[in-house]
């Protein structure tokens, strides 16, 4: 897999015209690395992911995937260009079976049924624990199993860039640890990962580079080592205590 680079320049975006949430954000998401975005509530972390996934319109600024400008493209075009989003909270289709959920992960491959079938089979081979659950409604699974289905579904289309929003929310510590371990494995395969997380400690542990946003703007940034030392004072600063 050829690793992808995502470059965000002076990004301005929001839900209401004239009231941007992001006020000139700059990010360099390096190929085959885990880039983490941190910040207090309201900093604009999840908004960044929504814009990069094409859910939210760009008011100004640039988003380049390798050499291609993708700002302003609709969500389905972002997905087709190899960007996949794992949204915050559970996002399985509860009335569809696990197999149907996973198959829909390959929606962009639907023109090539053989390739789609192979991709689905490969994902079930990668996550053998899901195989016995294939015919169960996804909504009937435990929280951890649903997260596994979501990650499996994410990988069917073999995306080059993964946008991950709060992957451990609602999961037990043991399952959350597995999820973070899986993110590291996905990076090792050459996937570029942009992770937004409230679990600062867990996120920094797997980060290659960290950005901190505050009030929709870049605050501080640096590699993992720069953040590991003084996490406590950073978080206290966000909380204003």
């Amino acid at each position: 897999m050829e690793a992808a680079r995502l470059a965000v320049r002076n990004l301005v975006a929001g839900y209401v015209p004239g009231h941007p949430i992001l006020r000139g954000v700059n990010l360099e998401v390096a190929p085959a690395r885990i880039t983490v975005v941190l910040g207090p509530n309201g900093a604009g972390k999840s908004t960044v992911l929504k814009v990069l996934a094409g859910f939210l319109a760009v008011q100004s600024g640039s988003i380049r995937l390798d050499e291609t400008e993708i700002a302003g493209l609709p969500a389905h075009r972002h997905a087709a260009s190899g960007i996949a989003l794992l949204p915050q909270g559970h996002s399985v289709f509860p009335d569809l079976t696990v197999a149907e959920n996973v198959e829909l992960g390959g929606w962009i491959l639907r023109g090539d049924r053989i390739r789609l079938r192979r991709a689905v089979d490969a994902v079930f081979a990668r996550y053998p624990n899901l195989h016995p659950l294939r015919d169960k409604p996804a909504g009937s699974l435990s929280g951890g199993q649903q997260r596994a289905v979501e990650i499996a579904r994410l990988l069917v289309a073999d995306p080059r860039v993964l946008l991950i929003d709060e992957p451990s929310v609602g999961l037990s510590p043991a399952i959350a640890t597995q999820v973070y371990r899986e993110l590291v494995a996905l990076k090792a395969e050459g996937r570029t990962i942009l992770l937004v997380d409230q679990d600062v400690r867990a996120a920094i542990r797997i980060a290659d580079y960290v950005y901190v946003l505050n009030s929709g703007r870049n605050d501080v940034e640096g590699d993992r080592a720069a953040f590991e030392g003084d996490l406590g004072s950073m978080v206290r600063g966000w909380l204003g205590v």
Binding site: N101, L104, W107, I108
Partner: protein, 291 residues
């Protein structure tokens, strides 16, 4: 089973099948897209007049019109989605309802201008024919309409469950943003779903026109019937709509057999009111998206 009871059951089931396709599109569009399309019944009325027009002008049998209505009304549905629904789907739900109500009134009034308020009937060779099964007498027209309806219901069921695009439509109804994140063009699929809903309404109009007299203003009765079935059966599932429509068909047929005619409509309208009270979430509670 006494013959007249068997007749009530058979006729009730046939009627229920036709009612099911009258409500199917309303239920799916509400369940999957969150759109309360009160103009649905106006398209049913247009379907009846399409069958009448094709019969009078081109001698096309209503059975053929049933299938011809599908692509014609699908195109009408997609056009309605693009011209009207997309303009109000992000607005407050009331605004969407008013827009669809306006469309319903517009279609009914255009129908009245075109066809007057006179009641019409579709008369073909089998309109007054009957089939004897043992000692059971079954009218041909409801039998044919019921069989066509069953075919359409089966088609919808297979489409939504056995095809990838059908599963994507169901997925979109369960989690629109997650579907978008997978690359599903939800705007395009919404147009397809709305088109299918209107296509089923058009074909339902043909089937209803084979059984009942109709006029532009009778569409409001089909709206009440369709809502009753949707409220009774819940949204977005073909099988729920079918079961609830069969119940309505059986109740109506039984009531017609045992009660004066006027009471039949009273019973069904009271049932609609009672269901709206009992299912307290009503229609709004299950509609997640605006319009």
């Amino acid at each position: 089973m006494p013959v007249h009871i068997a007749g009530i059951v058979v006729n009730g089931v046939l009627l229920g099948l036709v009612y099911a396709i009258a409500a199917l599109g309303l239920s799916l569009v509400m369940g999957v897209m969150g759109i309360i399309n009160v103009a649905h019944s106006a398209f049913i009325m247009l379907g009846s007049f399409l069958a009448l027009g094709l019969l009078e002008w081109a001698h096309i049998d209503p059975i053929a019109s049933f299938f011809l209505a599908l692509p014609i009304f699908f195109a009408l549905g997609v056009a309605t989605y693009r011209l009207i629904v997309t303009r109000v789907e992000r607005a407050h739900q009331t605004q969407g309802l008013i827009a669809m109500f306006g469309l319903m009134v517009l279609i009914e009034n255009l129908g009245t201008i075109a066809w007057t308020t006179d009641t019409r009937v579709i008369t073909v060779g089998y309109s007054n024919a009957n089939l004897m099964v043992g000692s059971l007498l079954i009218a041909d027209a409801p039998l044919i309409a019921g069989a066509l309806a069953l075919l359409l219901i089966a088609g919808f069921r297979v489409f939504l469950h056995a095809t990838l695009i059908g599963r994507a439509i169901r997925a979109m109804g369960q989690n629109r943003d997650a579907a978008r994140a997978l690359g599903v063009n939800v705007r395009a699929l919404s147009a397809v779903m709305f088109g299918l809903g209107i296509a089923s309404a058009g074909s339902a109009g043909v089937a209803l026109g084979m059984i009942f007299p109709f006029a532009p203003q009778t569409q409001i009765q089909w709206l009440a019937w369709a809502f009753l079935i949707v409220v009774l059966g819940g949204l977005g599932r073909v099988e729920n709509t079918l079961v609830s429509a069969l119940a309505v068909g059986l109740i109506q047929t039984a009531a017609t057999a045992f009660l004066p005619f006027d009471y039949v409509y009273l019973i069904l309208y009271v049932a609609l009111a009672a269901m709206l009270v009992v299912r307290r979430q009503g229609l709004r509670g299950v509609v997640r998206r605006a319009i």
